[in-house]
Subunit: 604 residues, 2 copies
Amino acid sequence: MKASQYLIATQKETPADAEVISHQLMLKAGMIRKVAAGLYTWLPLGLRVLRKVEAIVRDEMEKAGAQEVLMPGIQPAELWQESGRWSNFGDELLRLKDRHQREFCVGPTHEEVITDHMRNELHSYKQLPANFFQIQTKFRDERRPRFGVMRAREFLMKDAYSFHVDQQSLDDTYDIMYQAYSAIFDRLSLRYRAVQADSGSIGGSASHEFHVLADSGEDDIVFSSGSEYAANIEKAEALAVGPEGELCTDAFTGHIDSSGMPAAESVSTPGVSSIDEVSKLLNVSPSATVKTLLVEGAEGGLVALCLRGDHSLNAVKAEKLDEVLTPLTMADEAVIEKAIGCKPGSIGPQSLKAKGIPLIVDRSAAVIPLFTAGANEEGRHCTNLNWKRDVGEDFTVADIRNVVSGDPSPDGKGTLDIKRGIEVGHIFKLGDKYSQAMNASVLNENGKKVVMTMGCYGIGVSRIVAAAIEQNHDEAGIIWPEALAPFTIVLIPLNYQKSEPVRTFSDDLYSQLRARGYDVLLDDRNERPGVKFADAELLGIPHRVTIGDRGLAENEIEYRQRNDTENRSIAVDNALNFLQTALAHPKTGERLIVDDAAAEGQSK
Amino acid sequence: MKASQYLIATQKETPADAEVISHQLMLKAGMIRKVAAGLYTWLPLGLRVLRKVEAIVRDEMEKAGAQEVLMPGIQPAELWQESGRWSNFGDELLRLKDRHQREFCVGPTHEEVITDHMRNELHSYKQLPANFFQIQTKFRDERRPRFGVMRAREFLMKDAYSFHVDQQSLDDTYDIMYQAYSAIFDRLSLRYRAVQADSGSIGGSASHEFHVLADSGEDDIVFSSGSEYAANIEKAEALAVGPEGELCTDAFTGHIDSSGMPAAESVSTPGVSSIDEVSKLLNVSPSATVKTLLVEGAEGGLVALCLRGDHSLNAVKAEKLDEVLTPLTMADEAVIEKAIGCKPGSIGPQSLKAKGIPLIVDRSAAVIPLFTAGANEEGRHCTNLNWKRDVGEDFTVADIRNVVSGDPSPDGKGTLDIKRGIEVGHIFKLGDKYSQAMNASVLNENGKKVVMTMGCYGIGVSRIVAAAIEQNHDEAGIIWPEALAPFTIVLIPLNYQKSEPVRTFSDDLYSQLRARGYDVLLDDRNERPGVKFADAELLGIPHRVTIGDRGLAENEIEYRQRNDTENRSIAVDNALNFLQTALAHPKTGERLIVDDAAAEGQSK
């Protein structure tokens, strides 16, 4: 591509409303433009990257035996009513009426549509397993769309849906998809991790998320130092630990005998409500305190959730408890004052049961022999509390906290570490959630009608572009892995308009590289060299060649990789050979390892 | 692809609600499935065809210098309010509100969005011309979606928008796009015609439609026998003609002197209202009658449109008249009776002016010396009417009729013929309609701010698939041109499950063809041969090879083209060579001409 005939829409200013670096760089590099909140146009340069991701995703899906389909973006309400999601999907489902006042939605996902098709098309176990994917535009009416295409309302997604006669077949296809996803992120050269995940509102029995690792990620993902265990923090199991993070067996949870221990004591703590303040005032470690959160109960009333003072509540885990209302809703301060007689900062687990408030105690809170907590009296706390003696044994012990760095791994091997990730893929064992609701069944080997078992598998195609930038950039701009780069190489001729030798050499090298299938950008614009270099770095083009009169006079051109800090002189005669070893192969993506000495030897 | 691992969703029954053959065949062949009125899912087999069309369109657009972008499907109301189309686009624009009650539409076209971007990105004539295209899902809320993907509500479209500093530059790009469209339809091997067209509601100064020729087409397109002239009937100019279709010069229109002619006479025609009935009863040729249609006026009241009895009104032409309300609205019968005193079937042009009804007379009606028309009295007609004598000279003569076969060509060369076409492409010179309304300007060579001139260029990608079938099918199914075929060749092994030689040979041929880049379907299903042959014909796969034990024993396989009626024996040793000459090249689409004698010579 010649830059003079291409929309290079770079900007110098960092856009004021772009919070994250990928959003800033995509705007500055002229990859995208905003049309409205959460709605973006992909300009030519950005679309080239998006299409490269799309092609790799499609290729690996096909290799994995999935068949491509294309379902409509607008979906009829009837199907969503059948699955039950029309009423319970929430405000992210953009509902609308057509000219005949019939109800539709702009599809955020396609479980209903594909299940409707496949209950008609699939009749026999002989047709199974079958796996269908599409690469299609989705819409989710986010309350607060942000971070550019990272959390847009309209976005490009690869979604796949598999159908099975039994669980074993689902497990097999799930593994195949897990491998296909790994192959995709390998080919994209991204640093990523697959982690166990919560299945959330999509439902189902098991799921994994694929995260691109980046400090700016919105998710905390958890790894074991001693095994392959990895999970989203929403899902990662927290064991009972002591003050130093050491594993405690559950056996004594909540039943630690108080013989010989000091008696509980109510102390005045005026104006003190946070765990930090209590710890300091009373000189106790936060790990020896218990905080009590009152939330709304599933059947009305309140429920108390008790955590060690230095731990944080895991809302996803709490929502799984029968007693707790979903979505998790903190009790109103006025309601708390009326029920308990004090503000939230002075609540403790004692005597709540007597008020009819069920008590759920986190595993690590339940193993503290003596702890400090609110006294259920304004401006007072209790020290030396013992669960058995001072609270009673009538409470539930559960895992309701987030793991912290240093926690023991739930598989018993090593300790946990936490990193930030951007979720770019999610695979689910759906089971029969949709096939049951929509009566999608086939005849099995015995001629018996069985409801199909399903899996579903998503990849955020447009989000991958932003995630790749979050992971790969510097102060000058984007640093594309070659598989994603809009152009693999940029040729920067100096004085192209006036110098005949520069123009001839540049045009010739451009043609030769193009003929070999490389994505080349020839920056033939009538701009200062500084502008061209800055744009090349901002756009993140992996390889750069500079062609000038002075170099050509000495039979040299200058080469630099986007990550390098210095140019390297390459002999003119050797230029094409050198570039063919330096650049990834345009079809296979493979690269010959550049022998620096050999290359240098051939340069002047 | 192996059929056993592919969704071959063929159906025997012709679907009751499919009116046209392409819709029937797309359903029967398992290419598409209906989700709701005008909303379809593309199943794997159909999507393969759609993607082939898409790839050819993209390739030719890029060759023509257009840059690909991707704009959102959901568009904010503000942009449409700026262009003025929010209020006047009509009910096909699906309007909706997001969770914050902000107004959006599901985009039926993207003039507003691209103009918004380009008024920000383009600043100088140096950046022009620039042409941007996308292949994107559109939505039009058709009142009566029908004919499957031919007139769906959601459909895949290639739309392109070009920006220019002046008319000459637009003309140049328009010509380039005209050539690119021709190249696309040539590559698709469709019989098509480019015709002059009316610009309609999109606006602009000139436009051409590209039609795939098919008897089932919804449009009448008009050709000259003596020149390149071709136009949509909406646009084709009708000259003044005499009773035999001979050209009449306009000079005498409406002014033919009545000296020596018989006087007008009112005759009783009880219960007679149609032209046919009047002609029979009074024994006059329909071409010597005039029918008068009363329509609503642009500023209220009625307007009379007079046509020769055997001609039909052209609504698009009528709507261009200042006097006539747009959209064209026939006057209510009650209103007519009140104004004239008779039913519509008895109206004539006489005395209408006196009632304040403007008179517009078609050119060919105005040249009839003596004509028969309604008497403006219930159950009566007038014969021997002369315009000058009996109507007066105070009327407008205009072209308001559809041309008919045999009319003289408006360019003076030859006569006109009419065929049916399916509109699959439309190119427009928009001029400054959108750039003016949205203030999209650049600095020209003299540093002066000028509003950009625009063109826009559409192709109905999904509609092409249906149009290709309308043009290419027989009673057994689809007959794909190779460029569109979901698979180029199908291998049909007989007794694949049990015969080791058949399986080995088939698998081997399959692998060899695939390795050479051909789209091969191996029908390894455990089905009767009859089922496989019928499916191969229904799916329209251009080449078919049958492999059986009996043939292999004699070192032969059977080959047949979809259009042939008989098999042809090919020597096993020569099979691969033969197929490589018979099939179009998988990359270039070129085909070696099969020398029948040579091929036969090598078969047994």
